[in-house]
């Protein structure tokens, strides 16, 4: 079945995310736009995922859980999980690999943790847009260990992307899905990087503002309307 998705949305936990990006607003907007499956992927933290889970269940939307990890090379990678607990454990591990730099909210923006009723229940102190001490070549095994999937983010962008920051796809790569800002670049990129031919390609909004969340445009073919099926689809070649 076709499931319309947006698997890269920032909430108010990301310093660059708009303060209106409360989990309730994101899930509500996703429902208005007719999306079937979403993922809130803040920089290096899953702490707004519990609220997303509660809201998505209420609204009948499928949610994946995870984050947009920044590797030591400052490559952005979506790390997605079918269950909240897996994502939270992964998030715990990532937090042990943070660089010890504090956020300065007036410069970078606030990093707010919200519950499903729009209460701000905490504020992350460590600067989340910073690099972590996790190398790109560690990410695949790390995601596997926690039961998730890694997706190099917006690889066609000229900053914080696999192709911009590393410049190439390492020979020993094992990932099977990539995110493109513009799917139209896929054929061209495949010529330069044949590895991509064996990858699924998704395209997300990377929204930092409510209005930017994807319309009902991009879909995944999944066996069932469940998080588990979506993760399987991302790993297999059937998008």
């Amino acid at each position: 079945m076709k499931l319309y998705y947006d698997l890269h949305i920032h909430s108010c936990l990301s310093p660059c995310g708009d303060d209106d990006m409360l989990p309730s607003n994101i899930v509500g907007m996703a429902m208005l736009k007719g999306l079937d499956v979403i993922a809130v992927t803040d920089h290096c933290s899953c702490k707004n995922c519990p609220a997303v889970k509660a809201l998505a269940e209420n609204y009948g939307i499928v949610a994946l859980f995870g984050m947009e990890l920044t590797t030591s090379e400052e490559v952005h990678v979506l790390c997605l999980f079918d269950e909240l607990e897996k994502a939270m454990s992964f998030g715990e591990y990532v937090s042990t690999k943070y660089l010890p730099v504090q956020n300065e909210p007036e410069i970078f923006g606030r990093q707010q943790i919200a519950d499903e009723d729009d209460n701000i229940i905490g504020e992350e102190q460590t600067l989340l847009i910073n690099a972590t001490q996790i190398d790109f070549d560690e990410v695949f095994d790390l995601c596997e260990r926690y039961g998730g999937v890694m997706i190099p983010a917006h690889i066609d962008k000229n900053a914080n992307s696999l192709l911009a920051n590393l410049g190439f796809i390492p020979n020993d790569s094992k990932f099977t899905c990539v995110e493109l800002k513009h799917k139209g670049y896929y054929e061209e990129l495949c010529k330069k990087h044949p590895y991509l031919k064996k990858c699924n390609v998704i395209s997300d909004s990377d929204a930092h503002y409510l209005g930017d969340i994807n319309e009902r445009i991009h879909y995944i073919e999944a066996a069932e309307r469940t998080a588990k099926s979506v993760i399987s689809a991302l790993k297999g070649k059937n998008i």
């Binding site: 090379e73 410069i107 970078f108 847009i129 910073n130 900053a159």
Partner: protein
């Protein structure tokens, strides 16, 4: 040399003239990883990089860089430009590679 004098020298093109024309350009700093620049760039540095996004601007504010020079023809994206305007950060540009651009300013600062 002040930021104003650097702009007037015409060495580099101007993307955004900030609110710090009298700020002294004290040092040349070159790096593309924000996580390094964040802890290594010293106050007053002219920062040479190819990273032109809003986080570059934020790190420049944090470290009190006198200006950013985007090299290799790298562009400042739209949100980066808005942030630079809001925060009054001077952003310059050049088609030169980072080393050559930095060396050019280094010679001027001698």
């Amino acid at each position: 040399m002040t930021v104003k004098e650097l702009i007037d020298s015409g060495l580099f093109g101007v993307i955004n003239e900030g609110e710090n024309p009298d700020c002294e350009v004290t040092k040349v700093y070159a790096c593309d990883l924000l996580s390094f620049a964040m802890s290594k760039a010293v106050s007053g540095s002219a920062w040479f990089t190819v990273m032109g996004n809003m986080n570059t601007i934020a790190v420049a504010v944090l470290t009190e860089c006198s200006c950013i020079i985007l090299c290799e023809g790298a562009a400042l994206d739209e949100t980066g430009l808005q942030k630079a305007q809001q925060q009054g950060v001077t952003v310059l540009k050049t088609a030169l590679p980072i080393f050559e651009a930095a060396l050019l300013l280094h010679e001027k600062l001698k």
